[in-house]
Amino acid sequence: MSREKARHGRSRPPIAFVVLAAIAVVFFLLPLIGLLARTPWSDLVSLLASEVVADALVLSAIASFAAVTISTVVGVPLAWVLARVDFRGRALVRGLVLLPLVLPPVVGGAALLFALGRRGVVGEPLYEATGLVLPFSIWGVVIAVTFVSMPFLVLTVEGALRNVDVRFEGAAGSLGAGGWTVFRRVTLPMIGPSLAAGMVLTWARAIGEFGATVTFAGNLAGETQTLPLAVFVALETNRDTATALSLLMVAISLTVLVLLRDRWLRPQ
């Protein structure tokens, strides 16, 4: 097939597709319109200029980037193992990775509490040995958002690794490159866009996390109150503040997603 024809195919999509795609766009757009319609524009700055909001913003930034970092450091090797190593129980491990996606976040948070809380299965020995209490601290927030967001990275990267032609890796290996060099110089560049996409998805899930965080890490302004928790509290006291905060979250997320998409995720 010529390049010409491929381009032609792209410019004339089936009309039904355009209609259905438009319906999907409207579906995503409507809540945003609802939010904008409710936004108290004249008070926006004063509503957002508070210490509570600043603290929540900083905490959300730290926690979401920590989640992306941790997810990348342990999630990429996990994805590689799942994609390349044939071992008994692989399906089970993959199911385990999917678990945070299916569990209601609040249940995930409760499970984390039972495992890593001060009286938890692992948390109690940890507390007795070191005096460290994970809930009600920034560590708790990072753990909760990482638990919920890492599957996005693992799944995206595993999918990409499965599509990589292993002959390139084989060729590099046969030319004397070690396993790590092959991964870094051959595999990584090929899965680069997918890795970036996975990291962005992970970040997006982490920045919006509510249920697991409030259940495992609690809610204290300046300590464990991320932006979604601040929105939740504001929703119960001052709807204008809640709307302003929600708009702030939408603005940050859209900016990051659009910028990153242009920079890293351009179609190849």
Binding site: V106, R118, R119, V133, V214, T215, G218, L220, E236, T237
Partner: protein, 257 residues
């Protein structure tokens, strides 16, 4: 302080989880309006309203009472936004008033019960909490309800009357999530409703708060105008106010008017 330390059965963490989960579940589906009554009730009323639901349904065969349990303030927001609710029972007059003012109730609200607060600590009282003064301790893990929900507002009133500046580690979104964290021993102490300590099937011990600094919380209930089954809502409210209803409430430790 004369502390009556009481222990009760086990509250499943699941119940708090279910309640929080409910917050994010919209009231979907529809059915014949006449046989379904939708009742929004405060988290702190979860157990007693489950009992009231059973008793009401036993007295009215074929009628299904559907409970929507969440923080009073969230229920208020749902009703103000037009949620199809037939009756609303909240944990404070503060959370009821906006609904009455908005003209969404049939004939205003009625107080159906009173409640007071108590200190809750995990079974065995690992933090050796003896009274409100301990809430100022930085070493202990202390939780209150968020100020946005009635149990949080009341708890802060108690704290200010007792002259204690609490060293709070978490402001929980509702009383059940606070109770769960205390039961699990993740918090050393918290302030909940006396009825929660009483009816909790949980591993919590209650410590009394002196009357001089305690609050007398009013629990108001109202029939909601825009509900799909106002008549059913009226019947349920009447049942709560009836001798049988009040007896059930008293059984759960509520003071009845």
């Amino acid at each position: 302080m004369a502390a009556s330390t009481l222990r009760y059965g086990r509250l499943r963490a699941v119940s708090a989880v279910a309640v929080i989960g409910f917050l994010f579940t919209s009231c979907g589906g529809s059915s014949d309006a006449s046989d379904e009554i939708r009742v929004s009730a405060a988290s702190s009323l979860s157990r007693v309203f489950a009992e009231l639901e059973l008793a009401f349904e036993a007295a009215h065969p074929g009628v299904d009472v559907v409970l929507n349990l969440a923080a009073s303030s969230l229920l208020r927001e749902q009703i103000l936004a037009g949620a199809p609710v037939d009756a609303y029972a909240s944990a404070s007059t503060d959370t009821m008033t906006p609904v009455v003012v908005a003209g969404l109730t049939v004939g205003g609200a009625t107080t159906f019960a009173h409640g007071s607060l108590a200190i809750a600590v995990p079974f065995g009282n690992p933090g050796n909490v003896t009274g409100l003064d301990d809430f100022g301790s930085e070493e202990l893990l202390i939780g209150l309800c968020d100020i946005a929900v009635p149990c949080g507002t009341y708890a802060r009133q108690v704290m200010s009357r007792a002259g204690v500046e609490p060293a709070i580690d978490t402001n929980e979104p509702n009383v059940l999530s606070l109770l769960t964290k205390i039961e699990e021993g993740e918090l050393d102490a918290g302030i909940v409703y006396m009825t929660d300590v009483r009816s909790a099937s949980g591993e919590v011990e209650g410590i009394e708060i002196p009357d001089a600094v305690n609050v007398a919380a009013d629990y108001p209930i109202a029939v909601i105008v825009e509900g799909p089954n106002t008549e059913g809502g009226r019947a349920f409210v009447d049942f709560v106010m009836s001798g049988v209803g009040q007896e059930i409430l008293a059984g759960f430790g509520f003071v009845t008017p």
